[in-house]
Symmetry: C2
Subunit: 311 residues, 2 copies
């Protein structure tokens, strides 16, 4: 029951010799979701041992090159690898036009369909849903329309406590009712509360990706209680004027968002190339929000599966 | 008087964890020319210690993604670095349309001009010329219109032998005439042949880039006598049917082109990801053309400056 983010790139617009532009992979129960796709993403996927063919969907926060330029190579390579199933790409307008141009000039004979799904960047909206996961857009404040993403594991179905089933001698119909969350009335007339009979196999987890953006109180509220937050921290506090001018956050502002959201843990990233050493940014963020760290490329950050046998 | 090729990427279409898509830098007297620009080129330039701001021009052989996808990030980054002078990009049609779309969606406020210069892929034509260098297109045979490039150092101006000038007591007008290549008639009536008075400071050098292409006898003839040839060798001889089908060369065919051209030295590259070990390709090519090797990413290949004091 994996829930793990792998950082493929933590650099802002200008890459450095060591740092790559934005790209992240979220693994939810071995379903892989790509979040932003800076230049070189396809190769960094392979280097991190993630088969690009396993990607379920791609989420692009906004149409700045350092978040997008890797998508073209990825689309082409998936074709060369023989992909047949559609690839969904969630992105703001006019990604539909960008994609159409790409396909016309470079991939007119692609072996699979690329489906664009619009992200309306001003709305908090359900974008994607399957049995285990929901993905919501989170409006951000940047120089161009931008949205973050909230990945929310669904509440898992109730499991039965086998020993309780045996103890009370429950029949099939009673078991089904218990799994639906109902209390059970025994033949004796005694009512067994549902929580004696069932448990959640794990607590549902969540990941918020908030980049690129100015400080946003609304975003913090929309991801309230998130387990793991990735927030851009392009600049240090001393460069806050530059952050404001360019539509970015400082490390202190990232920490403030995590604090407001009562996040479990904060990762900062999207660092300006001016910071060779990230300890300054890490120190700033920890002053306000202690459970935080600078995201490291190639590293994975896991939210462990917490079982709830006894509610 | 540098004349040096640096390999930034030697992989064909599908990159491997170790190998990057096509990109090469030619340094001619500290003028830098980029030849093809696969994804990730801007970062590999920096890693090789080459400042992208120093690029004089870019040459793109054809519009397949593994030779082109890095140009978008490079254009954007040069803007962020504050470039003001125009950047010339030599590429076949419809790169003009690809570029216009890129600028519209991603770089509408670029700080400098990107100038597209058409490469007519069926013609052997002078594309670029300055004081020290000529660049010629070399028609290739690929699945899409493609041209290689011949970089030819110009014959340098004659230098005077100081000791000869002193020995014969030449005046300014006689020195000028000698530098123009003329023989000098002294007052005594004796004629001093020009080669006693002057020398070429170096022998002019050349580099041919031939990728992607099927075997081409015409290309070999057009680059006849080239000092250093880079020729694609996507496949080994045992996969020659696949090479033919995909419009590529085998290592043996690359060697044959070098042999026909009487090249000084051959580098092979653009390797299919199926070859983990390049020794097989290197062995094949050396059977036919001994002074050859598999191009290694990050390595530079120099053509030394040969002085011709005594012609």
């Amino acid at each position: 029951m994996t829930f793990r983010v792998t950082i493929l790139g933590n650099s802002s617009a200008t890459p450095t010799p060591e740092r790559n532009p934005s790209a992240h992979v979220l693994n939810v129960h071995e379903q892989f979701f790509l979040v932003d796709c800076g230049e070189g993403t396809q190769q960094r996927l392979i280097r991190c041992g993630i088969n690009p063919m396993k990607l379920q969907a791609v989420f692009l926060s906004h149409l700045h090159g350092d978040h997008v330029y890797g998508i073209f190579g990825l689309i082409s390579t998936l074709g060369l690898m023989g992909k047949r199933t559609p690839l969904q790409i969630f992105a703001p307008k006019p990604f539909d036009e960008v994609l159409a141009n790409h396909l016309r000039y470079f991939d007119s004979e692609l072996s699979y369909e690329v489906q664009w799904c619009e992200v309306e960047t001003r709305k908090h909206k359900l974008l994607f849903e399957n049995k285990t996961l929901e993905v919501w857009s989170v409006p951000l404040r940047h120089r161009v329309p931008a949205a973050g993403f909230l990945f929310q594991e669904k509440v898992p179905a109730l499991n039965l406590h086998k020993e309780a089933v045996e103890r009370y001698g429950l029949g099939i119909a009673q078991c089904r009712a218990a799994k639906r969350g109902e209390d059970i009335v025994l033949e004796s007339g005694v009512t067994i509360p549902n929580e004696e009979l069932t448990y959640r196999p794990y607590r549902e987890r969540s990941f918020a990706y908030l980049s690129d953006t100015l400080y946003s109180h609304r975003a913090a509220e929309l991801v309230s209680g998130v387990d793991l937050m990735y927030h851009e921290a392009t600049f240090a506090d001393e460069d806050r004027a530059l952050a404001k001018k360019t539509g970015h956050s400082t490390a202190r502002q990232a920490a403030q968002v995590a604090l407001t959201a009562r996040a479990g843990r904060l990762l900062i990233g999207h660092f300006s190339s001016r910071y060779k050493d990230l300890h300054l940014l890490e120190a700033e963020v920890r002053e306000i929000f202690s459970n935080s760290e600078a995201a490291i490329e190639g590293h994975s950050y896991e939210i462990p599966c917490m079982r709830e046998h006894f509610r």
